[in-house]
Every structure is written in C-alpha cells, then in structure tokens.
C-alpha cells in the first residue's frame, strides 16, 4: 500500500542541517509499525512525509496505493497538487495526535463524526460501534475539555478510524498518559487498527510499549556528519 525508497528530506544548513533518509519503507494493508527513537531524531518528520503534509526533497520511489493503482506522491508534490493531496489525506488517512487534536467546540460525537462528514459519508453506525469498543460510549455528549487525557486519546482514535482509512498515523499517542493509560490506549489503538484492517504507523519513544503491543519496530538512528549536520536514517525492522 505504501512503497518508499531513497526518500530524503533536509532542513537547515551547515551545522544546523538535519536530514532524514528513508532507504526503504514498504507497508502492506493491515501492517502495524512503530517508529521509535529519542526526541528530535526525526520521527515527526517521517510522519509528516507519510501524512502527505511535507514534500520530500528527493524520492527514488514514493507510491501510495489506497486502491489498486499506485499514486506517485513525489510527482503530486512536484506538481503542487495540494488539492489532490488534501483529498488523499481526507479520504485515506487517519490521525491520532499527541493530545488528541480534538475540536473543542464539538462534542465527542461531533468530533468522531467529523472525518465521515468531511467525506459526505452517512452515519453507518460506526460512530457508536467505535465509541463502544473504545469505551467512550457514555461520553458522546461531552465536550473534549470535560474528558481526561486518556479519554481524549480514545476519542481521537475513534475519529481516526471512523471513516475507515487505509493508513493510520499516530504521533506519540501515549506520551501524555500515565503508564497504565498509555498501555490501554496503545492496545486499543492497535486492536482497532487490526480489527479494521488498517495499516498503522505509530511514532513513539516508548519502544517497550510498542513491542508489548505487538508492533513491528523500526528505529531511527542519527549520526553527525563532517559538516556538523545530523543525518537520521530509518533502520530495518528489529
């Protein structure tokens, strides 16, 4: 579903330069992957590239195949086809953000429904089903401000899955949670992604939790180059 090779992205110059190199990343439908590494190593940059919100500097291959035919994402970026990229994001990607990224003016039900409504999809019962599975069914009429951080993360998971995306991206989804809640949220997230057959990429610094949740783990390693800049490389599964 996702096929990347020789993808480069750099920011800054000289000793302030930071480069991310993705030698190869292939994701099949339903595959679960955790990208781990310390803060600042480039997990978020990788997630930005996968989320189609950041253009790569170079890409040997960057294909996204939500349906049968692969789409050349690098070509879409070169052609500045923001509308197509936005459409792909809206239709095929789901996001779980660090503190939920929920809209404070909508209640829980409104937040979960949003990803479907943006696509013009009618409610097929998935909102209630997800709310039940994520144990937030009794919170549907509350505003996000009235929820605990853990509950917000579960609402965020529901929103990310409600429109049945092909790829779920989660950026440090458990960073703001206590260990007990972190484990619960991660397991629910992975279980739901697995149940819905969604390919899932989780950026986290908690490798143990990722492994405990059954995620395939790939580390990002950093090295300082001769010019003082840093190059981070996505490693193979370990």
């Amino acid at each position: 579903m996702l096929d990347m090779s020789a993808v480069h992205k750099s920011r800054g110059a000289g000793s302030q330069r930071y480069s991310l190199v993705i030698p190869r990343l292939q994701l099949r439908g339903g595959e679960q992957l955790a990208v781990v590494g310390p803060s600042g190593c480039g997990k978020s940059t990788l997630l930005d590239l996968l989320a189609l919100v950041l253009a790569p500097d170079q890409a040997g291959r960057f294909d996204f195949s939500p349906a049968n035919a692969p789409l050349d994402i690098a070509k879409l970026w070169r052609g500045s086809q923001q509308g197509t990229l936005a459409e792909l994001r809206s239709r095929h990607l789901g996001y779980v953000l660090q503190t939920g990224g929920l809209l404070g003016f909508l209640d829980v039900r409104g937040n979960i429904e949003l990803s479907r409504k943006l696509l013009g999809l009618k409610d097929d019962g998935s909102v209630m089903r997800l709310a039940g599975q994520l144990d937030i069914a009794d919170q549907l009429d509350k505003k996000p401000a009235d929820l605990s951080v853990g509950q917000r993360q579960r609402v965020s998971c529901a929103r990310a899955l409600a429109h049945a995306p092909r790829l779920l991206l989660a950026d440090e989804p458990t960073a703001a949670l206590d260990p007990l809640n972190a484990e619960r949220v991660m397991q629910l997230l992975v279980a739901q992604a697995r149940e819905h057959g969604v390919c899932c990429v989780v950026a986290t610094h908690d490798e143990a939790l990722a492994r405990a949740s059954g995620l395939q783990v790939r580390r990002i390693s950093c090295r300082r180059d001769a010019d003082g800049g840093v190059t981070a490389t996505l490693g193979e599964a370990c």
């Binding site: 989320a51 919100v53 503190t99 003016f105 505003k143």
Partner: protein, 398 residues
Amino acid sequence: MRGALVASLAWQDYRNDAWLSACSVLALVAVVAPLLVLFGLKFGLVSSLTERLQNDPATREIIPLGGGRFSAEFVEQLSQRGDVAFALPRTRQIAATADLSSDASVVTVEMIPTSANDPLFDHLPVPQGLDQVVLSQTAAEKLGAKPGDWLQASFGRQVAGRSEAQRTRVQVLHVLPLEAFARDGLFAPLALLEAAEDYRDGRAVPAFGWPGDAVGVSGQRVYPAFRLYARNLGDVEPLRQYFAGQNLLVSTQAQTIAQVQSLSRNLSIVFWIIAGLALAGAFAAIFAGALAAVERKRRELSVLRLLGVSTAALLLFVVLQALYSATFAALLSAGLYGLAQSGLNHLFAQMPGEYASHLLVRHYALALVAVLGVSAVAAACGGWRVARIQACEGIRDV
C-alpha cells in the same frame, strides 16, 4: 455539502465562544444602531418637510405677476405639459367677485375658476354647470351655508354712475377645508366667471338671459391670468425658468422648496460622512477581530486543514462567523432603532402620517446588506491568514 458542514462547524464554534461572539455583535451594534437612528431622523424629518410641501398644493402653485394676455389655447397647451398638474384661465380679478346671500347674511367673495383635477379639491367633486359652486370654509361659516344649500349670487356693476346688479341662484356642492383655501372664496366653473365678467363689461349673457352688447363672433377671449400647479415639487423651478424664458414674471415657492432640498442634501452629506467613518471603523474592528480569531483558533484550523479542509473552506469558516455576528448585530440594531424611533416620534409628536424618525423596508434591507457586506469583506481580508496555516501544524498539536 461541504459548505453546509463548514457553516455548521462555524456556528458550533461561534456558539462555543458565546461571550466573544456577543462582544463582536455588541461592537457592531454600537456602530449600526446609532447610524440607523441618525438616518431615521434625517429621513423622517426631511420626508415630513417634503411631504408637507408636496401635500400643500400652494407650494406647487405658479402665479403670473402683472397683467398678461393669454388665450384659452395657450393655457390649454400649458395644461398638457408633463410637468403641469393643472392649468385654467382666470378672468380679471376686479370682475371676479360676487355677493353671496343666504337667510343669515351677505358676504362678498372672491370667485375662483375650477375644473376637474383641481389640486385644491383633493379628489372632491368639482362643480358643474352655472348653478353649482364650492365655498371656502370661511365663506360658508359667514353665510351659515352647508352642502346642498341654495344661495343667491349677485353681480353688481356701475353704469354711468348708476348701480346695477344681476342675480342667480347657486347650490353649494361642498365646502373646502380651511387648509385648502383660507379666504372668502367661491369656486365655480370658468363659464360662471366669464358670465360675471361679460355682465360687468356690459356684454350680454345669453345663458342667464342678461341683456347687453352682443358678443363679437371674431373676438377671441383674452385672459389676464391663469391658475397653474406644477405636477411635483421638482417641476416648480423648471417651470419658473420656462416662464422666465417667455418673459413672463411668475411667483413661485421655488425658494422654499430649494431650502428643503438643500437641507436634505446637506443632511445626507453629514450622514454619509458619519456613516463612512463609522463603517471604516467597523471594517477595521472586524478585520482585527478576524486576524485575532485566526490566531486564537490556529490549533483547530490546523487540525481541520490536516483533515483535508481546503483554504477556501477555512476562509469561509472565518467569514461565516463574521456574518453570524453581522446578522445578529443588524437584527439587534433594528430592534434598538425601533425603540428609539417610537420614543422620538412620541417625543416630537408630528401631524398624522408624519414622523420625526422613520425608515422604510428598503432602508432596513440596505443596512443589512451593508453590514453583511462590510463584515464579509473585512473578515475575508483579516481571515486570509488561514492560507498560511499548514496541515503539519495540526500534527504538531500539543
């Protein structure tokens, strides 16, 4: 579908920020309500003055000064002009008097010719034939006459130092209100005035069987004056200029009309200066409000952007919220203006049908369109910064 969803999201956010929304509504009301009151006063006062002039036919009367020599055809041609509402020849003033007598008294009245569409009659029936007249209120009071009464009209003359008179009976068709004519007057068809003039000039009046010199067949009647009313206030000055071009001196109320029109113009200028400054201030406030809103809602907007909402839809989100405020402000301002209007009209009691402060439906509609338009443009200018919000900001949400 996307538009309706954005409108719904904008409305829910607008409601969620109820206090800030209320502040933006009140800020607009502070501009719009005084403007409505100001314009209502300007329009009410000027309309009342203009209507008063318009409703008083005397304002539209054009009176020829000095003696003239006008044929019936000339006056008929004048009456055919588009800017003339009514024109009728007058006989000599000195010959146009009559002594009316009832059982109670005798009153000498001025005779004024009348015919259909006489502006002084205001849709009342006009006298027909030689035996119907309309009396002014003062004359009717002195004679104790009422509609339907029969009076005796006497026309006197001096012949070789000897006083002579002829009499005829006339019926009072109705009595004109005091506002229409304040002197002792008798309104009759031109034929009756011509009969009186002929009798006084020593000519025979076959219609009444009064003896005298035979009227020449070739002699076309010459009238010294005419009654003429312009169709509208705006027609008075062009008619004055027309008569001046004909070397005919006339007396008009053109100056009074010009004063009201000048007052209207000057008040309009004052209003539009104030309105322009106020709207510019409102524009700046809404612009700044939209800028602040984009910064304040940056997190929500970036999440929406991440979820695939386009720049245009995000801009619509900001503009719609400004339009919600504008709509509430317009409604609240109209309500406040309504209170102010009833208070002002109660305080400055006018004649029935006149108002110190008054607005028409089209004024409300114009105010609504102006408020919505200024709000939409200002919010769009201020909200354009949503284009700078990147989707990746949504991912960085912490």
